[in-house]
């Protein structure tokens, strides 16, 4: 994944699961989770994701005149709301949540913080 793709993807998934007193998606490791998936079981999603990120950045330029990564969180949410009814965005939401709430071994739920957040009693040692 090239650095500029990673930057915009990070910004998008951090609006899908933003930071509050618990980690955002990227803070939990979801970029690593997505990277693994895109190299294997979700390989077919790569061109769809590229197109989605391109469309998000285009919408950002069309509405506010700047790159998505340079917008405020509120502005980013506004841009995403114009695209959030698409199958591509729904799929990214699904994958991000898979990583965030699955077991830490999958890479997207560092230190099982999301389990602590929701109150899941975890696994036997």
């Amino acid at each position: 994944m090239d650095p500029s793709t990673e930057r915009i993807l990070t910004a998008v998934i951090d609006r899908i699961i933003p930071e509050d007193d618990y980690p955002s998606a990227s803070q939990a490791g979801c970029i690593e989770f997505l990277r693994r998936l895109l190299a294997s079981e979700e390989e077919a999603f790569n061109p769809v994701l590229s197109r989605l990120l391109y469309d998000i950045n285009t919408a950002s330029h069309n509405t506010i005149g700047r790159d998505f990564v340079d917008l405020s969180a509120e502005q980013q949410d506004g841009v995403l709301r114009t695209l959030d009814n698409t199958p591509a965005f729904h799929h990214l939401v699904l994958l991000t949540n898979e990583g965030y709430y699955a077991d830490p071994g999958n890479g997207g739920n560092r230190d099982a913080r999301s389990w602590e957040m929701v109150g899941y009693k975890g696994e036997p040692s």
Partner: protein, 551 residues
């Protein structure tokens, strides 16, 4: 590889799951020489990953027991007629689990006897047009002693005092049920106000040390996973070790039965099986006096169909065109709620209260089913079950998860499938497995009456949940689809008349004196209950018949 194998066995058992384990054990303990074939591996607890995205409850990218994803495709024909070539973990493949123990290695272990009326569905309700609803050639009373044997030999926990009077139980359960939870307390109170009787859910699990294994440690993630304390009962930790201990049972793992061999008179004489080792296929034929098929409904049917010959042009047991037909499982229906108080206490398995009020006698409905609360959920499973009006992204979506995971309530149950002869397993004309054999092709749907029953049961689930005064109730609409899956049954159904089924009342394939079925394929109908205890009981009964005939 053929070192140490006998030149002829008293019995070859195909499949080391629920039925196969029991038959191998009963025959070996009676002194018979048994060869047990299992196509999966024997997996220790550490070898079954607790991956929340790859397990037998949510098989998103795989499951936690399949090791060969490429070599065993199936073809699924969807309701629109489109063909899909599928890998084992995919929806539509209808996998149980490919490992020693079969589904019992990772199931939830609900341990239900069928209701007496489940054996007489046609006499009780009539036969809806287009369905293959039929009576069994045995009654509940015929199977009751074997249900009792299964409960005591394998180990089932439950509450005798509140169990269904229609079961006419002679002995209590060997172990007490799991304790109450906030969920069962709330649901019992609501049921009482509705005038519904409830009871604890019987489970194939140790609530106390039993059979030399420790009790369940009540972890938070049971169904679809291997058990961390070995408290969950499977054939791999009960009857199969017993069979091996006799010295009379040889077990071959990673070995797939390919064909039931017959002689030039059409009589069954043994099994040809295959292994894949170092990139090479090794094929062996072994003789046996009897062959018992316990490969579960899809693969048992496939093996019968594959074993065609001059005498059996349409496959073994298939002179009346019933092999592979009437594939059943269960439509699941229910409702979800968000509660005002925290329900979640992290103490599994979680499914500990049910009502059997709606299994039968529902106005205008054929059959019905049980309703129970659910096994404890994983966070991602809870995420997938959110109602349609919850945001799926953004801070509110995150807060929904945070505020509601411990307030999730879910009541659901397996609705008795009304079978269709067009829900079936055939051999695919084109696709082959790793060994060059035609794979199973699955097509058809359950009968539409199953959807009527499930809509009725959904309303009952809503009613029950309304009684706990929740914040919100929602449900997902059941679709007309092919059932089977982990509850697969019906494809070698028992019948008195050889033209109406595949086996007789003792599991012996019509037209043969030494070929048997001992798995869910035998089920004429599949009850409004999880089927595994019935599979275990029928296996005890089939084995009993074989042992008596062998004396």
């Amino acid at each position: 590889m053929s070192q140490g194998l006998r030149s002829e066995y008293d019995a070859i058992v195909v499949g080391g799951g629920a039925g196969g384990g029991v038959v191998a054990c009963q025959l070996a303990e009676a002194g018979q020489h048994v060869l047990l074939l299992e196509r999966g591996r024997a997996l220790s607890y550490r070898q079954v990953p607790r991956d929340h995205l790859r397990n037998h409850r949510q098989s998103i990218y795989g499951d936690n027991t399949t090791t060969d994803y490429e070599g065993h495709p199936r073809v699924f024909v969807d309701p629109a007629g489109r063909e899909h070539v599928l890998k084992p973990h995919m929806g539509g493949y209808h996998l149980n689990a490919m490992t020693l123990g079969g589904g019992t290695r990772v199931y939830g272990g609900q341990a239900w006897r069928f209701h007496p009326l489940d054996f007489r569905m046609a006499s009780t309700y009539g036969v809806p047009k287009g369905s293959s609803l039929a009576d069994w050639p045995i009654t509940y009373d015929d199977l009751a002693p074997y249900y009792e044997q299964a409960e005591w030999e394998l180990g089932v926990c439950g509450d005798h005092a509140t169990s269904l009077p229609a079961w006419k139980r002679n002995k209590p359960y060997p172990m007490p049920p799991f304790p109450d939870s906030p969920s069962s307390i709330a649901l019992r109170k609501a049921a009482k106000q509705l005038g519904w009787a409830t009871q604890p859910v019987p489970l194939l699990m140790n609530t106390i040390p039993y059979n030399g294994r420790a009790a369940c440690i009540q972890c938070a993630n049971c169904v679809g996973q291997a058990c961390p304390s070995d408290g969950k009962v499977g054939s791999q930790n009960t009857v199969i070790p017993r069979a091996l201990k006799t010295g009379n049972c040889d077990l071959l793992l990673e070995t797939q039965a390919e064909r039931i061999d017959t002689d030039d008179r059409g009589r069954v004489i043994g099994v040809t099986f295959v292994r894949y080792e170092d990139g090479q296929i090794h094929r062996t034929s072994v003789r046996a006096k009897r062959v018992i098929l316990s490969a579960a409904a899809v693969e048992t049917a496939r093996l019968l169909l594959t074993s065609s010959s001059r005498h059996h042009p349409h496959g073994l047991g298939n002179h009346s065109d019933h092999v592979g037909r009437h594939l059943q499982g269960h439509v699941y229906t229910g409702a979800h709620a968000i509660t005002r108080e925290v329900m979640y206490d992290g103490k599994g398995p979680g499914v500990n209260i049910c009502t059997l009020k709606f299994n039968h006698g529902n106005p205008g409905i054929i059959g019905g089913g049980l309703l129970a609360n659910e096994f404890l959920k994983t966070p991602f499973k809870f995420w997938t079950e959110a109602p349609g009006d919850v945001p799926r992204w953004g801070i509110k979506a995150k807060q929904y998860m945070r505020n509601n995971f411990t307030r999730a309530e879910h009541v659901q149950g397996p609705i008795q499938d009304i079978p269709s002869p067009d829900a079936r397993v055939t051999l695919d004309p084109k696709v082959r497995d790793r060994f060059g054999n035609p794979v199973a092709r699955l097509s058809g749907t359950t009968h539409p009456e199953s959807i009527n029953a499930s809509l009725y049961m959904h309303e009952r689930a809503r009613e029950w949940l309304a009684g706990i005064d929740p914040v919100k109730i929602w449900a997902f609409r059941p679709q007309l689809a092919l059932t089977g899956g982990q509850h697969q049954a019906g494809t070698a159904r028992m019948s008195a008349d050889p033209k109406a089924g595949v086996t007789d009342a003792w599991g012996r394939v019509h037209g043969h004196d030494n070929l048997y079925v001992a798995d869910g394929s035998l089920h004429v109908t599949n009850g409004g209950f999880n089927p595994v205890l019935t599979i275990f009981a029928l296996a005890y009964r089939v084995a009993d018949g074989i042992n008596k005939a062998a004396r």
